[in-house]
């Protein structure tokens, strides 16, 4: 029964993980930039929810839109003024830069909010649904549903909007997209901004059931990479499935080992995948 419970929790967590990693997948797919500030951007989303909750008393699901909008802006500015100038430099350069950005943002949060861990006490935080012997947290269920909705919006945008088409074109072939008259530099900014916004939305969902703390950014960055690589770099559907996979693996790992050891399981999985199946579980050979 314990394992069934872990499985359910894993699926619920997986949807949010998938949303979190989609942003990274998009940024990597379009820009070929390794964004080491990714987890930190998600932490910014968590703090936005926390701040709006303490100041306005707004529920994280009410403040999700402003939080995502704020991160959209942050992402746009970062790409426009800091990352665009080095977009053609060797890859080490972009990831040292994002690493630096992560440090700056994390410590700005530390200065603004202090080292304490914060929790958001919503009305539904402690309630749960009992199904037979299983308990399903309402907070996790809401986060699961919201993540799926945001993910749906993300996919429809990429699929049907004019900008979405331009983003996909730029990620397929930069040069060809440029020749077709697409302003690639602007598309980069929009792609990074959307990546940051979806991650911020994931952060808002997380803030309803895990404590908000400034120093978890790097762990979430690594987890996002595990998800993207497990699903196969360059496939958004793969990333989504990767999210569920890692969510389930971590929850099962937490039951079998101990709660804080669950990351060890997913990092080991990352190493195994990179050694034996670098194209990811759902990626094509030779990508």
């Amino acid at each position: 029964m314990l394992y069934v419970q872990a499985l359910i929790n894993g699926v619920l967590l997986g949807a949010i993980y998938g949303l979190m990693a989609l942003g990274l997948s998009l940024i990597f797919g379009v820009l070929r930039i390794i964004n080491f500030a990714h987890g930190t951007l998600m932490v910014v989303g968590m703090y936005s929810s926390y701040w709006l909750f303490t100041v306005l008393g707004a529920d994280p699901y009410v403040s999700l839109l402003p939080a995502a909008a704020f991160l959209f802006l942050v992402g746009f500015v970062l790409q426009r003024y800091i990352l665009n100038p080095i977009v053609d430099a060797p890859e080490e350069m972009s990831f040292l830069t994002t690493l630096g950005l992560g440090l700056i943002i994390q410590n700005l949060i530390l200065m603004a909010f202090g080292p304490d861990v914060h929790t958001i006490d919503t009305a539904y935080k402690l309630s749960s649904l009992a199904v037979g012997e299983l308990n399903i947290d309402v907070a996790k269920l809401l986060a699961f549903g919201t993540s799926l909705v945001v993910t749906g919006v993300f996919f429809s945008f990429l699929q049907w909007s004019e900008t979405g088409r331009a983003i996909r074109a730029a990620s397929d072939n930069r040069e060809a997209a440029r020749l077709m008259g697409i302003d690639t530099k602007k598309i980069y900014c929009i792609a990074f901004a959307i990546g940051a916004a979806t991650t911020g939305a994931a952060g808002a969902c997380f803030s309803t059931f895990i404590p908000t703390s400034q120093d978890v950014g790097m762990l979430f960055t690594l987890t996002s990479f595990v998800i993207v690589i497990a699903g196969g770099v360059g496939t958004y559907h793969g990333t989504l499935i990767g999210g569920f996979l890692i969510g389930i693996v971590e929850e099962l790992g937490a039951v079998m080992l101990s709660g804080s050891m669950k990351q060890v399981v997913s990092f080991c999985l990352l190493m195994v995948i990179l050694f034996f199946r670098p194209q990811g579980l759902f990626g094509r050979e030779g990508d």
Binding site: E91, G100, L103, M111, M261
Partner: protein, 337 residues
């Protein structure tokens, strides 16, 4: 070439200057220089893999941690002196480096993916150390202090200056080893592999073997730095000697000074540590003058800014920047003459 003749004298003068600092510098200066040279040493060890071989490892803390914990545990449980324990730690770290290298290069994990592998590895090791009580868990391990003349036999000294001389000697040593590597067949092969691995392979250079050798050498020496830290502080904790954050700190000096150059890592660390110390001092001043709270992150912000600015304006670090300017000047002179 006659122009570069006076340079050795500058080095001798610098060496004399740094070696005589304990005679007139206070404890505060020594403390800062010990940490600065410690990072210079670690950065130079990292440089053998990150600089010369072009494998950007963000997990070198693993090997520092192995060194620190091996000598400490051997001393605590078997009473073995850290002077010998550090060799044991270095051998284990060297094998760990070789294994990680073998797996990565055998399966062609390159570039960013190699970076992720090293980060995952160091986080796994840190999390495991934080969970096993026998290894000290998150509380860490205090090393039993030995007072008096017996201390030197177990790598413990009362005043700071012996530690300072040891870390100076270690830095000098790694400088010599890096110099030898640069000028050896190994160095040329590593450079060829860094520039173009496939081309090097097609010329018959066994790339994997040389990359593994680089990992093993780097792991061996950086582990000695771990033991040094443990003996200097007489206390270790997983997040102080391993994990991603610490590993990033190791890379700061080489990035600022210029990775892949002989003096870059040392120069960078000697700028970086005082800069960090200065911002910490500045933080205290601001705190007490304006009665402000929560400025603890300021020095990490400085680190982040340095990363962003160096990549943007001096991608080859201070040494690279200097060399490039000299080259430009020479070109201009030859064009004029």
């Amino acid at each position: 070439m006659t122009k570069s003749r006076p340079l050795p004298f500058i080095y001798v003068a610098l060496a004399v200057f740094f070696l005589t600092i304990p005679l007139y510098g206070g404890d505060y200066v020594l403390e800062m220089l010990i940490i600065a040279f410690w990072f210079a040493y670690l950065g130079s060890c990292w440089n053998i893999v990150g600089g010369y071989t072009g494998l950007l490892s963000l997990g070198h803390g693993t090997f520092v941690g192995i060194g620190a914990y091996a000598s400490t545990l051997l001393f605590a449980h078997l009473g073995l002196t850290p002077w010998i324990g550090m060799i044991a730690g270095a051998v284990v770290a060297s094998m760990a480096g070789a294994l990680l290298g073998y797996l990565s290069f055998r399966f062609k994990v390159r570039g960013v993916y190699f970076c992720l592998i090293t980060m995952a590895a160091t986080e796994i090791v840190r999390l495991v150390f934080e969970h096993v009580n026998w290894l000290g868990s998150t509380i860490g391990i205090f090393i039993q202090a030995v007072k008096g003349a017996g201390g030197a036999a177990v790598y413990q000294f009362g005043p700071k200056w012996p530690y300072y001389l040891i870390i100076m000697a270690m830095t000098g040593g790694i400088l010599g080893i890096s110099y030898l590597i640069e000028r050896s067949k190994l160095g040329y092969f590593l450079k060829a592999i860094k520039d173009n691995e496939d081309a090097a392979r097609s010329l018959g250079i066994p790339a994997i073997r040389y990359q593994i050798i680089a990992m093993a050498i780097s792991g061996f020496f950086i582990a000695l730095g771990g033991t040094f830290y443990a003996q200097y502080r007489l206390y270790i904790r997983p997040d102080l000697v391993m994990g991603v954050h610490f590993s990033v700190e190791i890379v700061m000096g080489p990035v600022l000074g210029g990775w892949g150059t002989l003096l870059g890592p040392i120069l960078g660390s000697l700028v970086m540590t005082p800069l960090g110390e200065f911002t910490r001092w500045l933080t205290e001043i601001i705190k007490t003058t304006f009665h402000m709270q929560g400025l603890t992150g300021l020095h990490m912000i400085t680190y982040g800014l340095v990363l962003v600015l160096v990549v943007r304006f001096m991608p080859n670090g201070i040494v690279g920047f200097y060399l490039r300017r000299r080259e430009l000047k020479r070109e201009k002179e030859s064009a004029a003459g």
